[in-house]
């Protein structure tokens, strides 16, 4: 079985802090990690490889620094890695990103594609389903459990209030939740292999042009634009109330409503 896992290198947004004076993001020193849902996708693929045998190619679209994320995936046990990197892809939104990744999938060939549900820097959850749409294959999102055999896959698909057991034959794309599993670590020997035995194959637009028209990539292939981005205004000094119990309850309820928690 041929599995493609798509991953994204993201800044660890949990470590991002706001400069309280200026209200701007402190990006310096924020470590880059494999997006958590994608990491679960890698583990899901490795688990299938462990039980059924499979060849896993891990694919990422990003700058050359994403090499280390792919090496990490190799060190966990993936067989091959591709980094899609080219100025032509710059400025891609989810539409163009997914069509580019779909082109790479066509180039590489696949039975199963696994992506993370969403990346922690963008949080859109769009690339997986859109990639499946560009490939004209079915997808199952929000996987919290995956059982695979040689012909088909059975996925526990999460909703807010329920779950569905869904079955699909290959080829199919599945989007993984970080709750899906506990990803294994790299192994020491795996890291050695990731650098000494395996390589990260670079893919540019020239490698994909048979599969993706130029108007579907990069800025040109992106229907959306970022008009502006801004940080939230920094926190002011808090308020202190010395009031009756009933008034206190009312204040709390109003605050919860104001923050849309109720």
């Amino acid at each position: 079985m041929k599995i493609i896992v798509c991953i994204k290198q993201v800044p660890n947004t949990n470590e991002v802090k706001l400069d309280q004076q200026t209200g701007t993001l402190i990006r310096e020193g924020v470590p880059s990690i494999i997006n958590p849902d994608d990491l679960a996708g890698i583990e899901a693929a490795l688990a299938i490889k462990d039980s059924l045998g499979a060849h896993i190619t891990v694919v990422s679209m990003g700058p050359p620094q994403a090499d280390i994320a792919l090496r990490e995936a190799l060190a966990m046990g993936c067989d091959a890695a591709c980094l899609i990197t080219d100025r032509a892809f710059a400025g891609a939104d989810t539409w163009a990103t997914s069509s580019t990744l779909a082109g790479a999938a066509q180039l590489l060939g696949y039975d199963l594609i696994i992506t993370g549900r969403q990346a922690i820097d963008g949080d859109t959850a769009q690339v997986g389903p859109q990639m499946a749409e560009h490939l004209g294959i079915a997808h199952i999102p929000y996987a919290e459990d995956i059982k695979a055999d040689g012909e088909k896959i059975i996925v526990t698909r999460q909703f807010e209030d329920r779950y569905q057991l869904l079955q699909a034959h290959y080829p199919v794309l599945v989007t993984a939740l970080s709750e899906l599993n506990q990803p294994r670590y790299m192994s020491v020997g795996g890291v050695v292999d990731a650098y000494d035995q395996k390589e990260v194959r670079l893919l540019t637009y020239a490698d994909l042009e048979t599969f993706v028209p130029v108007e579907n990539i990069g800025l040109k292939g992106s229907p959306t634009r970022v008009k502006k981005s801004f940080t939230k205004s920094p926190k002011g000094k808090g308020e202190l109330h010395q009031v009756s119990e009933d008034e206190a309850v009312e204040i709390i309820i109003q605050k919860l409503k104001g923050h849309l928690i109720l």
């Binding site: 280390i68 090496r71 990490e72 060190a75 294994r184 670590y185 790299m186 192994s187 020491v188 020997g189 795996g190 890291v191 050695v192 990731a194 650098y195 000494d196």
Partner: protein, 380 residues
């Protein structure tokens, strides 16, 4: 000359940090408190290749170098010095001598199981009357047909209670002194072999330090490691490598102490300020970090020469001497910066201070390291 780690070593460091933070750190207080050997952690260490880092892939190892190994011991010791020494004693004192001196059969039989962590290894040199004076061995090995018969007791043996395989140094010819020593690979199930009482220790309390007792212990002749009479030399070479591991352990303890103290002083308020704002705190930590970095550089230099197959005994001795004394000094000063909380067992710093002390003692005391260094300086 390049002080930057390679990409491969940087990724290894990432793995080590993740593993140590998630798997080792949460158990460290319990391992210390209950003096329990972390068998489950060791099983995971095995699964991820930590138990055979410098062992060739052909024997089930990770195929990495001694620098990678030293970095692993440092990362583990940063959060739990017990776990650090378990890996260090196993790798440097049992796996390495088999790798260096073993026959093809011995390597096939023992290295694979040791490198994957299925078996844990240990090393028996020290005796009641042979500590720093390692030449005063009383354990004997007498040929008997296809076997040797070993008699004697080894003391303070790290991993003793958890190991499956031991490198045992014994006298095959007492008249020849150190040239009458030989090394043997002894399995825990060999007849006449037993593990004696467990030591109650000040630090590294989970490392299962015990006596090893051999009473007419039958060891097959094919388990002689190296040649007869070469045991002392083998032991000394083994300890050279071991000192790189202990230096790394000491660097880890020191850095771990600095890291938690940096976090602590940024939170702790006194006189209306965070104590990190006091110059004494800043100077103390700057001084400590400088020492820790110097210790790490010495440690990496020793590993570097070991990897290049160049003489490294004196480098290893310097690394261990400096790093172990730095660890003791740094943990003591970090505890002082914690004030009363530092003396409380709620905080990890008191454990680190207790753990640090042993690094100045085992695998050659600081005084032994000075002897080694002085002799390389030809000062005698």
């Amino acid at each position: 000359m390049d002080f930057a780690l390679s990409k491969k070593h940087l990724l290894l460091q990432d793995l080590y940090t993740k593993f140590a933070t998630n798997e080792v750190k949460p158990r460290a207080a319990e391992v210390d408190e209950e003096e329990s050997f972390p068998h489950d952690t060791v099983a995971k260490l095995g699964r991820y290749g930590f138990m055979g880092i410098p062992v060739a892939k052909a024997y089930g190892g990770a195929g990495a170098d001694n620098l990678a190994y030293a970095m692993a011991v440092e990362a583990l010791s940063k959060v739990c010095a017990t776990t650090g020494v378990i890996v260090s004693a196993h790798t440097s004192l049992c796996v390495a001598p088999i790798m260096e001196n073993g026959t093809a059969e011995q390597k096939e039989k023992y290295l694979r199981k040791l490198a994957t962590g299925e078996w844990v290894g240990a090393f028996g040199l020290t005796e009641a009357g042979a500590g720093t004076d390692a030449a005063g061995q009383q354990t004997t090995a007498v040929p008997d047909g296809d076997n040797y018969i070993l008699n004697g007791t080894k003391l303070f043996i790290t991993n003793a209670d958890a190991a499956h395989v031991y490198i045992i140094i014994a006298m095959t010819d007492k008249a020849k002194g150190t040239r009458g020593c030989s090394a043997f690979i002894v399995e825990k199930d060999f007849p006449g072999f037993s593990v004696g009482k467990k030591e109650k220790k000040m630090g590294i309390r989970g490392s299962a330090t015990c006596e090893l007792i051999m009473r007419d212990c039958i060891v097959p002749k094919e388990n002689l490691l190296g040649k007869e009479g070469q045991g002392f030399k083998l032991a000394m070479q083994t300890l050279d490598g071991g000192r790189v591991g202990i230096a790394a352990q000491a660097v880890g303890i020191a850095q771990g102490a600095i890291d938690i103290t940096v976090n602590y002083v940024k939170e702790r308020m006194q006189f209306g300020k965070r104590i990190s704002q006091f110059q004494n705190t800043q100077f103390e930590l700057a001084d400590m970090q400088t020492k820790a970095d110097a210790a790490r550089l010495l440690c990496h230099r020793a590993a570097f020469f070991e990897d290049k197959k160049k003489p490294f005994a004196s480098h290893a001795a310097m690394a261990k001497l400096f790093a172990s004394e730095a660890a003791s000094d740094i943990t003591r000063r970090c505890l002082q910066l914690h004030g009363g909380y530092g003396y409380s067992r709620e905080y990890a710093i008191e454990r680190m201070m207790r753990d640090a002390k042993i690094t100045e003692i085992y695998e050659g005391t600081s005084e032994v390291q000075k002897m080694v260094i002085a002799s390389h300086m030809k000062v005698n």
